[in-house]
Amino acid sequence: MAETTQIEEIKPPVTDVGVIGWLRQHLFNGLFNSIATILILGFLIKLIPQFIQWAFIDSVWFTSGQECHQAAGACWSVITQNIRFTIFGYFPYEHQWRPLVAMIILVGMLVYSREWNRWNKRLGYAWIFALLVMGLLMKGGLFGLVPVESTKWSGLPLTLLLSFFGILASYPLGVVLALGRQSQMPIIKSLCVVYIEMIRGVPLITMLFMSSVMFPLFLPEGVTIDKVLRAQAAIILFTAAYIAEVVRGGLQAMDRGQYEAAESLGLNYFQMMRMIILPQALKIVIPPTVGILISAFKDTSLVVIIALYDILNTTKSILSEPEWTGFSTEAYIFIAMIYYVCCFSMSKYSRRIEKQLEYKHTPNQE
């Protein structure tokens, strides 16, 4: 009969598992890391309570500017008291529900459209309808809505408008430029190369300057195009060059065999591009494209320089009122949070798509 004594299981030392083990492995491995950890912790312990004291305990939330100047902590009132001007700017006060509804429609449509399997013809029609409704809400003039000049469009709706249409219109233009750059025809190719490289070599500000001071000279007498539209055009032309470069990357990454197979089927150039090459090429460059879109969104803030009132500029004009001067930190933190939430969710989205694409490319892995 075999002896059946059970050998006692030896557990790992307490210092290697659990909380202590984690701490040792992640915070205190080696002399350098231990010193760094202690220094950082000391710094944080000193800083965080101070910040909390400033931002929450000593802060005031719903007071007037005068009372703010007496408060020891943050003055969040600069936001709460001016929230409607910050967000809607010079849009007529009693009609500000209109841009609000337009923004809600836009965000709702974007959130709904995030899944690819929902992309179909019906969604396309829904988008067209939604855009018409949004345009109507902003512009007015029909169904008893009071018309509002586009010069009055400001704040967050302007930011969203400039970035949304900037992105929407620059994408096809960018694709066309990328195709032109890959083309065999020397004149078309060189035109596209010159355009792309020139735009990419200059800052967006020069384009905006062009739209605000130079563009009026280009137009025949008597014709004027309003400022928002000119800035929009500048943003579109600028973003398109960057999109073109990204798309070119996708076109170059395509296997030569795809072109040859398409040609051997007897497809002409446009059929080949539309049905074979572009669907694949555009898909692989979705992540970098979203990167471009994020920077396009951030870059719309540059319209401040040509005196358009986007959300950054409405904030600035509040801060220039004597009642609210001196609270830039609080106001800018608020605006930064808005931008952060938008950009962060876009980059999250791009990361998710990246994962989906990885899975599709290697279906046999799991």
Binding site: H26, V213, L217, K298, S301, T329, Y332
Partner: protein, 392 residues
């Protein structure tokens, strides 16, 4: 292909691929030329109507505006040409300093995000997420406002070290009083750099030949500090300083770093560093872990593993995207116009406002930035070629 088709059946010329390609191109070229002609003729008529002069004649004229800070002598009586030169130099100043600082900071943060220390890597990641997702213009406004709201007026200047004053007009600090010696020391510094370069070359050659290592770093540091110090002592060791003194409402003497310049530099550096950190991180991660293990197994310390094995390989992945980030920094420096630092765009903008010559002004902006871009990418291409793996 087309000639074959032509030979066996009649093909109309509009069905011929080559003919069509030529046709398309002619149409495009004609269209572009027509648009160009139309726009230019509009510009001409408009400019005549508004009696705006054309051409670059204004460069010779008196600018009649002041510029806050300048690397060269400038007054309102100087020409537009000189004012624009001041702008170019200011842009160059902020871009060059910014490029160097942001590369250092970005690399540091990139390495931090890969640290085995949980706290360090988390803080690094948070930094990247935060600064990447906020528009650079907002950051510039933020830092500029900080300067104005947190720091006191000159009368109540903060005085952390003797002679250094921090106020809402910038940072004032003492500089050595003008003396030819400082010029010699500058020369000695340049000479030291050349000597160090030669020593390094010799040391590398020697190590390749004999395997012996030479303490290049310490010797280099010695030369770099020693040579200027020697020059200073030989020339009588002058210690007179030009210290800023409060006179009226502002400081006189010493040097001043303006709040505009500081805010611009800090904003650009912090923003671009977040992108560089990501590039550096991706570059290091692209090197297979086997390299690290191999390097550790031959007994290199972690710091040396990074320096001798990982970085030289990672650089090839890092340099091309790094170039475009540094270019972005140069281009973003044009945002100076929003916080009132007199960079090229601001000076050119003032010029446009005063002369009305928008076409020339915008054209100059484009040419200047295109030149910067081309020069930077030429330099980085040269560097990229240099660090390419030499296949033996």
């Amino acid at each position: 292909m087309s000639s074959e088709q032509n030979s066996n059946a009649k093909t109309y010329f509009w069905n011929d691929e080559k003919t069509r390609a030529i046709l398309y191109q002619i149409v495009t070229a004609a269209f572009v030329a027509f648009i160009g002609y139309y726009l230019i003729s509009n510009v001409q008529t408009n400019m005549e109507k508004q009696s705006i002069a054309s051409g670059f004649g204004f460069i010779e004229k008196e600018a009649a505006f002041e510029i806050g800070e300048s690397l060269i002598e400038y007054s309102a009586a100087d020409t537009y040409g000189r004012a624009l030169l001041v702008g170019v130099l200011n842009t160059l100043k902020v871009s060059l300093i910014g490029m160097i600082l942001t590369t250092i900071l970005g690399t540091f943060i990139g390495v931090c995000t890969l640290s085995t220390n949980w706290l360090i890597s988390k803080i690094g990641t948070m930094y990247v997420e935060l600064f990447q997702n906020i528009p650079v213009l907002l950051q510039l406004f933020f830092f500029y406002a900080l300067f104005y709201e947190i720091f006191p007026a000159p009368r109540q200047a903060l005085n952390p070290i003797t002679g250094v004053f921090i106020t809402n007009r910038g940072i004032d600090f003492p500089v050595p009083a003008s003396d030819p010696v400082w010029g010699y020391i500058g020369l000695a510094f340049v000479a030291a750099c050349i000597v160090i370069w030669l020593v390094r070359r010799w040391a590398v050659k020697r190590q390749e030949r004999s395997g012996q290592q030479f303490p290049t770093f310490w010797v280099g540091l010695g030369i770099l500090l020693g040579l200027p110090l020697l020059t200073w002592i030989v020339n009588g060791a002058p210690t007179e300083m030009d210290v800023p003194v409060l006179k009226g409402f502002n400081f006189q003497g010493g040097r001043n770093i303006s709040p505009e310049f500081s805010a611009l530099l800090i904003g650009l550096v912090l923003y671009t560093a977040s992108f560089i950190a990501q590039i550096v991180r991706a570059g290091i991660q692209s090197i297979s872990h086997g390299q690290t293990e191999a390097a550790m197994s031959i007994g290199l310390k972690p710091g040396l593993v990074l320096k001798l094995v990982i970085f030289p390989q990672a650089l090839r992945v890092i340099v091309p995207p790094l170039t475009s980030q540094l270019l972005n920094l140069t281009k973003n420096s044009s945002l100076a116009v929003a916080i009132g630092f007199p960079d090229f765009v601001q000076v050119a903008g003032t010029t446009i406002n005063q002369t009305g010559q928008a076409v020339e002004g915008v054209a100059m902006m484009m040419v200047v930035y295109l030149t910067f871009s081309l020069l930077t990418s030429a330099f980085m291409n040269w560097y990229n070629k240099k660090i390419k793996i030499v296949e033996r």
